[in-house]
Symmetry: C2
Subunit: 374 residues, 2 copies
């Protein structure tokens, strides 16, 4: 009879694979191997990393190729590490994540080890955040809100040139300048901004386009800031859409629809709610405001993405607020971010990151939702 | 008879898997599928990304789940994407990288597709850089050198307190303050610094420890800066070790040994040279200076890492200047970074990143190698 829980095997760089960082608390750029049995959590690292690994988390059983007496010729092969570690631990059968590297899997199977692929979350307990994790997320989100304030302030200080372009300090105010101001504000708060989105007018129609060049008055500017805290590894996520000067009636209609859809989504957030029900309700609000979704010549318009996603040691993690299955639990941290995208009208998105509670939600950090910047 | 070249299949986020970014030129946070056949390069993305993907690289054949008429219930499964794409392209057999996700592999095999794992580099042409790539690397390395200048300057402006601690502006000069100055300098040059190492005294004994707290006079401070350029994705890599005030005779001996070892390593760099021969020669210089490598109670001391590594769209990529096999080729970009680490004497490392040429090497950017900062 198959036992229900086999040892769990993971392999990769803790700085890239959040599951490994979550389980071990050990940060490193190079690949490591983690084996969780009923009685121990093994972490296999290079000799160079062993001391730091032991100091980081005394609960781990840290092993190196040398300690497992691997032949020198095998010590550079991660697949050989895995074979040696499982042999040492007496493990003949292990659960691995769907992303487990095929090359290593074939070597392990060649050594007589049976692997079972676990589809979906491999460390599902990651989705429900502990109190210390929520504090880390709050810190990251506060930095994100403050960086949004800096971006708004830069746009507020700009004036409108004769052709409608924004100008500041004698030069055009570009997406790149606002992005740099955001990144500086984040860095001062120990967060790495990557490429925050500052997308004006037609650029914002693609929700992932980062935006470039001069910003213009009267057009919606989508600002999406999603930094990672350097020390803790947790992320923030926040989007606002602003207009410098006077928005057109169409932009105001888009704004009202998205704001109402976000309010509806937030109102539905609480432990026990089906994620897909939230997404459906949000979509319905947008439709009732007259904004349908459609695909023309292979290009989608309208509400082209899900309502939200979990945030933690990854910027996109479980749960998904979309058509997918799933139920919210207290301690989930999710974004609620409806958006509308039309080739002829531009993009509009409003996003907050909130903690799910038994009775509703709490913002990690609050940020005004004002459209117009005078 | 087996054909020699099967279509190549890759799967993952271009922002994480440099092979995919290199082949497609398309940046995105979400996973995509790439299928290179003899006649076409397919890129499968979500509907939301299709427009941007087509605009980025017209040579790609961009596909979406909708265009492949996948049933709605399958459109969220990446493994189903892969099955649909291979079926569309008439591919029954594909080469995949060793890191290919096992879960997807099993689904493909279940659909009758044969996968061959390619060990080692999957896009080996990435190691030899084109002229435009070398320009991108040069830009990143220049920013890195300038950030090192900023770090040196901060330490130069500090004074030595009564207890030997460095002070600046009425407060202790800490690793964190220097790191922030480095990161600001990098950001102003469109590079993301991550966690540059500023490790003083005993902290530097672990080559990957980032360093924290007050810096002290007379002790070696290892500064290792390795940023990624936000737009191009290429990395820089540079290490210097400095001492504020008067170094001990031991520190001077360490410095001379590492400097001589690096000079020897650089002198051996040229197309056609065995990588392992360079590593051996560098190790020998350190030993001849009286610095042996040894392992005591599972902790290594001496020269505990390889001589260098390739740099490109990944901070660590082929070729490896270590005991591993490999021969340098013109257009390789590699670090040369011998180091010494002793628990009782601290750490010392000097690293430059260079382009391999037919006759030797060229620095991507030059940076002084002075130990002492007065």
């Amino acid at each position: 009879m198959e036992k229900l829980t086999a040892p769990k095997l993971m392999l990769g760089s803790p700085n890239v694979y959040a599951d490994i960082l979550h389980v071990t608390g050990f940060k490193a750029p190079d690949p490591v191997i983690v084996l969780q049995t009923r009685t121990a959590c093994f972490l296999m690292v290079s000799r160079m990393e062993a001391g730091r690994a032991r100091a980081t988390n005394p609960a781990l059983t840290v092993m190196t190729p040398e300690e497992l007496k691997m032949p020198v010729s095998q010590r550079r092969r991660l697949s050989a590490w895995a074979v040696a570690l499982l042999k040492h631990a007496g493990v003949k059968r292990a659960d691995v994540p769907s992303a487990f590297p095929l090359g290593v899997a074939r070597r392990l199977e060649g050594a007589g080890i049976r692997l079972r692929v676990v589809e979906g979350a491999f460390v599902p307990e990651r989705a429900v955040k502990r109190a210390d994790e929520i504090e880390h997320l709050r810190t990251a989100q506060r930095a994100t809100v403050e960086a949004m304030g800096v971006a708004r302030d830069v746009i507020r200080r700009a004036h409108i040139g004769r052709g409608g372009e924004l100008r500041l300090g004698g030069a055009p105010l570009t997406a790149e300048r606002v992005r740099r101001a955001i990144n500086l504000a984040l860095l001062e708060r120990d967060c790495i901004g990557g490429e925050p989105i500052v997308a004006c007018g037609a650029q914002a129609v693609d929700p992932h386009a980062v935006g470039h060049g001069p910003l213009r008055a009267g057009e919606p500017i989508v600002i999406d800031i999603f930094p990672q805290h350097v020390e803790t590894g947790y992320w923030g996520d926040l989007t606002r859409t602003v207009v410098k000067g006077r928005p057109s009636p169409t932009v105001i209609r888009l704004y009202r629809a998205v704001l109402a859809a976000q309010a509806r989504g937030l109102a539905l957030v609480r432990a026990g709610r089906r994620c897909s029900a939230i997404h459906r309700a949000v979509s319905l609000v947008l439709e009732r405001h007259g904004f349908a979704s459609r695909t023309i010549e292979g290009v989608s318009e309208g509400f082209t993405h899900g309502t939200g996603h979990g945030v933690g040691l990854e910027i996109h993690e479980a749960p998904s607020l979309s058509r997918a299955d799933g139920v919210l639990r207290a301690g989930h941290v999710v974004t609620v971010e409806p958006g509308l995208y039309y080739r002829d009208q531009g993009g509009m998105r409003i996003e907050d990151t909130v903690v799910v509670t038994r009775t509703g939600f709490e913002y990690l950090a609050t940020c005004p939702k004002t459209l117009v910047i005078r």
